[in-house]
């Protein structure tokens, strides 16, 4: 839920990167962190296991600049993708303003993508959200690997309602900022709509 502090003139929005384990959610945030100027970012917090699997969440605060005199900050979170971390995923979705679904394009991960998407819808419902009504963007990651599902097949399995879809190779930064920009724009346009603008 967007937090507007009229006193300190700040707007904070929360974006959550969701998807199956090892799909590229943390890689997205790491690339964004590495590529963003120091004055526009905070610390990248990663609560991970010893084998670098996300345990609870990754968190990256970004300062995007000023809109109508208000400092605009986006808080980017990732969830742990492994199936058994569902309780944690539910917690991190609380107060979400926009969602990025990071799908793993590899053929053998197709079932995991579908299960994760279903899990996202379920967990959002438990917080009173409808995925179709939230700012939402899909990223088909790992497009550089050999054994991948075609764009059209991925789209037919995972796309829902005409949401923007981006192809990416997150570990090389391809598609990462395009995805972020798209979801951030949707969040801000939704805020404009809700304020009667």
């Amino acid at each position: 839920m967007t937090f507007i502090n009229y006193a300190s003139r700040e707007i904070n929005c929360k974006i959550v990167y969701y998807g199956p384990g090892l799909g590229g959610k943390t890689t997205n945030l790491q690339y964004i962190y590495d590529s963003t100027a120091a004055q526009s970012k905070g610390k990248l917090i990663s609560l991970a296991t010893e084998t670098d699997r996300t345990l609870f969440f990754d968190f990256l605060p970004l300062d995007l600049g000023t809109v109508r005199g208000f400092k605009t900050r986006f808080h980017l979170y990732t969830v742990p993708g492994q199936v058994f971390y569902d309780a944690s995923r539910k917690l991190i979705l609380k107060g979400v303003d926009g969602v990025v679904f990071v799908a793993d394009s590899q053929r053998e991960r197709m079932d995991a993508n579908v299960e994760s998407l279903y899990n996202l819808e379920l967990n959002l419902k438990q917080h009173g959200y409808e995925l179709d009504k939230l700012p939402y963007v899909v990223q088909f990651n790992k497009r550089d690997l050999p054994n991948i599902v075609s764009y059209e097949d991925l789209k037919s399995e995972l796309a829902r309602n005409g949401e923007p879809i981006f192809e990416s190779v997150a570990n090389r930064g391809i598609g990462v900022f395009e995805t972020l920009k798209a979801v951030a724009k949707q969040v801000l346009m939704e805020l404009r709509k809700n304020s009667g603008g």
Binding site: S8, K14, P61, R68, S88, L91, K94, G95, F177, S195
Partner: protein, 157 residues
Amino acid sequence: MYEQEYEQLKNVITRLCADANAKFVFLVDKSGQQIAAHGEMLNLDTTSLASLTAGNVAATDGLAHLIGERGFPVLSHEGERDHMYISKVASHVILVVIFDERSSLGLVRLRVKRATGEMTSIFESIDSKVARERDVGVGFDSPFAEITEDDIEALFN
């Protein structure tokens, strides 16, 4: 968060910091946004503190529900030098007090209890204001009302 209530909250946490002999007092929204802060730890990364505190409380609430409790209203972490006292205020706000040997857990607990009562009233006032204005159809002076696509594009350039 309105200006008047923000100033009131700042006054409460400033007083709490002094009365509890604390190093730092911090208010966080349950989804990890910082609301207000006061204290001597000027270089503290409050953004990370807010996010981690919210995660900590959310995870602890999850544990509480597992064992049939509604929640754990208070968390206390003891360090070698500095300690942290985390408590819930109203339904959606978390209060963090960082203190050292100049204070004590008992004193912090006592002062937090009083401050919590004051802050709960302030947050109830905010909620009432929001509900009243919504009922009457008063629009907020929202910064988004006149935002344009160019404004948004400019953020990314």
